[in-house]
């Protein structure tokens, strides 16, 4: 057990998924040819002025509300002045003194414990362009497509206590950003980046130690690694009786180490001052209420809904609420169909992995809702046993999505026609549904036969011949 407590604060940059940039109409799309989205405004040409993209404001407020922040009704922008080749204006428009969202918290679960991580604030800012140093032997190249792309920066209080917690926080925040449809959360494209601040203090101390900041870490895994490295490095420094130097550091993914960039004395004086080209952002109560009303159900609420209203298991509910789309699709499928369990089963075991493999959005899944319902109907009415339906009918349906499931089942000759077939299918379905009970019966709990009979009666809506059913059940269970 270490004698130090780790204190971590994160500054997470979230690139928003607006169509246009934060202060002009240029496209904010990723992946175009260099310098395609650059009007005179992105280029910072003389005489150009910023104009706030209202969509950015709305997304900032959405995240703020989801993180329980106070929304400032008179927030404004500031200029952060520094020279860099990919910063055409010589300053970045950001928010320093009065950011749009203030206070707030995010609850995360760490080793089954709920931890409340306080948010200091969220502010809006513009991204810089990109300098590319390895493209040309003589020149550095500048791509200004990214210059002016909207970012939200979420700054936490120093409430995180381990690299693991930090990684969980980062990942939960990413999930939330995607959930709220404010960012694609795509780490590879740099949609989320993080500055990690870490310091150590003696266990039980209430004062903070000297911190270092690892800049611009672009994945959750790297953030965790960088923090682990820093934690270890600082521990060694302190154990040697030396002092941690306040520094900005950079993380090298190849070596897994962090290296100093600059020290406190070399820190820039950014000369922040209020951006005179943009008016104060007036947010009225009605705006907040309107945005609040347009907010989707949050993941935690949805999960408990799925368990309570639709009797899904904890596991199923968690799986369907990891991202927003599967849950949305589940809700879409259970409109006019109350076979919740069967639908969630099909979704989790078939549709989700298949859609992923086909690289299709769930709502573009080749088999349409009507046929999915008809397929479910085959199973629930015991026309086909669940295992046959899954193993034989579904793969064929996927190949011929316009064929009706009933027709497909008939083509495959798996429809149960006679009374015996019908009963067999119902019995199979019941046994598939309760594998643990089957095991218990086989281990000697013979009284369970009554339970199985009841289930078969339920499944056949009382149509099953009790004597025949009893016989067939015993035969199946004892074979």
């Amino acid at each position: 057990m270490s004698k130090y407590e780790t204190v971590i604060g994160l500054e997470v940059h979230i690139q928003l998924n607006t169509n246009s940039k934060v202060f002009c109409g240029d496209s904010a799309a990723f992946g175009s040819e260099p310098n395609e989205h650059i009007s005179a405004i992105s280029l910072g040409h003389p005489g150009t002025l910023p104009r706030l993209n209202e969509g950015v404001l709305e997304k900032a407020i959405r995240l703020g509300l989801a993180l329980n922040c106070e929304i400032s009704n008179n927030s404004f922008f500031d200029r952060k002045n520094y020279f860099y080749a990919d910063l055409p204006k010589g300053y970045q428009i950001t928010q320093d003194e009065n950011p749009i969202c203030q206070g707030g918290f995010l609850e995360i679960t760490v080793q089954d414990q709920t931890r409340k991580i306080r948010i200091h604030h969220i502010h809006i800012e513009e991204d810089a362009g990109k300098s590319i140093h390895d493209l040309d032997p003589r020149f550095s190249c500048i791509d200004l497509n990214r210059a002016g792309v909207p970012l939200l920066e979420v700054v936490t209080e120093p409430d995180l206590r381990s690299p693991e917690e930090a990684a969980i926080f980062f990942s939960e925040l990413r999930k939330l950003a995607k959930w709220l449809d404010i960012s694609d959360g795509n780490m590879e494209e740099g949609s989320m980046r993080c500055d990690c601040n870490l310091s150590l203090r003696p266990m039980g101390s209430s004062e903070y130690g000297t911190r270092t900041e690892v800049k611009n870490v672009n994945s959750i895994r790297f953030a965790k690694k960088a923090l682990e490295y820093e934690q270890e490095r600082q521990t060694k420094v302190l154990n040697k009786g030396e002092k941690v130097i306040q520094q900005t550091r950079t993380f090298d993914p190849e070596s897994g180490k962090t290296y100093p960039l600059r020290e406190k004395e070399e820190a820039h004086d950014y000369r922040y001052f209020p951006e005179p080209d943009l008016p104060v952002v007036n947010i009225v109560e009605e705006d907040i209420i309107r945005i609040q009303n347009s907010m989707p159900e949050m993941p935690a609420e949805r999960k408990s809904d799925f368990i309570q209203k639709y009797q899904l298991s904890e596991y199923e509910a968690a799986l369907l609420t990891e991202e927003k789309m599967p849950g949305d699709y589940f809700l879409f499928l259970i409109e006019n169909n109350s076979n919740y369990k069967l639908i969630s089963n099909l979704l989790i075991n078939k549709i989700l992995p298949e859609a992923k493999e086909l690289r299709k959005s769930l709502f573009d899944f080749p088999i349409e809702k009507e046929n999915i319902h008809a397929f479910i109907e085959l199973i629930s009415s015991n026309k086909v046993s669940a295992s046959i339906a899954y193993q034989r009918v579904w793969p064929e349906l996927l190949k011929h999505p316009n064929t009706s499931p009933e027709e497909m089942a008939s083509k495959l000759n798996v429809l149960q026609n006679s009374d015996t077939d019908f009963l067999e299918s119902a019995i199979n379905n019941v046994l598939e549904k309760f594998p643990d009970k089957v095991t218990a019966y086989q281990k000697g709990k013979k009284g369970l036969i009554g339970f199985f009979m009841g289930e078969v009666m339920k499944a056949t809506r009382g149509k099953a011949d009790p004597k025949l059913s009893n016989q067939m059940l015993r035969k199946k269970l004892e074979s």
Binding site: A40, P46, G47, A85, K89, F273
Partner: protein, 477 residues
């Protein structure tokens, strides 16, 4: 072709002459081009758009014949623009080396609106570098001379605009006014200079000096013409969120019992020339005799105006001018061998001493440790000045005071005594700090032969009232 005299003609009378066929637009443009050639030595023009002006005039002459109903509001108007305003596919330099060879990709909203209403832009006129200066001596193109006395300055920073109008080379000129840059040269050159309310005209396409002060203004011979041009340029603009949503529609409703506040500490200021003082007194008496009520008011913040103004404008300038870095466009020092040197040498070689002084001062006042004492304080003074001025306008229609303490100084004099030159802005920065509209109209000619002006200030967005009053006062002279 007999020589024509447009010097005392208003735009509406020129439009009548054009409609009736007594004059063609080509004749008018030729006339102005001749005037430009005849006054070249005054150095008002940086570039003359001769061919395109004539071509546009030919097209408009055809339009007068063929579809007179489709003529724009400003047909017949020939206008020059200060070298800080963007005009698509034309050069713009802010009279600075750092923008050497730079051509604008787009037109300033104000310029575009003029052109859309069939005005002709005849050329780009000289100014102090990026609008920083009060004498037009801070220009890479050299000083502009005052036509009333060629050994004297034109004033600044819109000195080229003032002389261009003074010498009848155009109907009007667009200047920009940050702390008096339209009003002061107008006073020095004996023309009308209007600085509208801050935000009245979009700043899109105006090379920023101090964003929270900059405003496009109009220099003209006639108040009425300035009003027509303002009407076209004013109004909301998608490219400038500080531009007002209000449109400006010129309506006249002059009356004879305005409530006027005479700003005592200005009119009795120790730096004010005695002849100007006397004549300002006389003007005030005239107004009283004409039935207006004039009251003398005090203003104890006067001595804080210039320091607050220079701190705030320098701060904004230091940031606004950061984009001229030698990397993206304009001048890049050939002596630089790395990124750091590219910044340092391009900026050191590309900006004038005056601009560098203000960038340094602005950087200083925003630095941590000095921000509160300098920038923060100046912001507070600005707020106090705004509050005080708004309070005055609860009681009065206008504030009147001289435009400048003296007439135009000799060329070269101000450079020797920069503090004096800064302090000479005392009467104009008053309206700039508050963002209220102000106008300078000629008041008289000094015994030294140079003109001077009187300044009228009104409440924000009350340009109609301001113009009514000035029209009345000016024509009454």
């Amino acid at each position: 072709m007999s020589p024509i005299d447009l010097s005392s003609k208003t735009l509406s009378s020129i439009q009548q002459l054009l409609r009736s066929g007594q004059l063609t637009f080509v004749q008018i443009v030729r006339h102005y081009l001749n005037r430009i050639q005849a006054t070249r030595h005054l150095n008002a023009y940086i570039e003359i758009f001769e061919e395109e002006a004539l071509e546009k005039a030919r097209q408009l002459d055809q339009k007068i014949q063929q579809s007179p109903e489709s003529l724009g509001h400003l047909f017949g108007a020939v206008i020059s623009i200060k070298d800080v305003l963007c005009y698509k596919d034309h050069k713009v330099s802010g009279a600075a080396k750092i923008l050497e060879g730079f051509t604008s990709l787009y037109s300033a909203t104000a310029v575009e609106r003029l052109v859309n209403e069939d005005a002709i832009i005849i050329g780009r006129v000289n100014c102090d570098q990026f609008g920083m200066g009060s004498s037009n001596e801070n220009s890479i193109y050299g000083p502009v001379k005052n036509a009333a006395d060629e050994t004297c300055v034109s004033g600044g920073s819109s000195g080229g605009s003032a002389v261009a109008v003074q010498t009848g080379t155009c109907l009007a000129s667009l200047g920009t006014d940050t702390g008096g840059s339209v009003r002061q040269p107008a006073a020095y050159c004996g023309v009308v200079g209007l600085k509208p309310t801050y935000g009245r005209i979009s700043r899109h396409g105006l090379l920023a000096y101090a964003s929270s002060f900059d405003q496009i203004g109009i220099l003209a011979k006639q108040v009425e013409d300035a009003a027509m041009i303002l009407e076209v340029m004013a109004g909301p603009d998608d490219f400038d969120s500080s531009a007002s949503q209000q449109l400006f529609k010129r309506t006249t409703a002059p009356h004879s019992n305005y409530k006027i506040a005479a700003l005592r500490p200005a009119i009795e200021h120790h730096s004010l020339d005695t002849e100007i003082k006397e004549n300002t007194f006389n003007k005030i008496k005239d107004l009283e005799n004409q039935g207006h009520s004039v009251e003398w008011i005090d203003f104890d913040l006067l001595e804080y105006l210039v320091p607050a103004y220079y701190i705030l404008t320098a701060a904004e300038a230091s940031s606004n001018l950061a984009r001229y870095d030698g990397i993206h466009y304009g001048y890049r020092s050939p002596n630089a061998t790395n990124l750091e040197e590219t910044y340092m040498l391009s900026r050191s070689e590309g900006f004038s001493a005056e601009v560098k002084k203000r960038i340094l001062m602005g950087t200083f006042v925003l630095s941590s440790g000095y921000y509160d004492a300098c920038y923060g304080k100046a912001q507070k003074i600005r707020r106090l000045v705004q509050d005080a001025i708004f309070k005055i306008f609860k009681k009065y229609d206008f504030i009147i005071l001289p435009t400048t303490p003296e007439t135009a100084p000799k060329i070269g004099k101000g450079i020797k005594d920069p503090m004096k030159m800064y302090l000479a802005d005392i009467f104009t920065v008053f309206a700039s700090l508050a963002g209220v509209p102000a106008i300078s109209v000629p008041l008289g000619v000094h015994s030294n032969g140079l003109p001077y002006g009187i300044q009228v200030i009104s409440q924000s967005f009350e340009e109609n009232k301001l113009l009514d009053f000035c029209d009345y006062m000016y024509r009454g002279l």
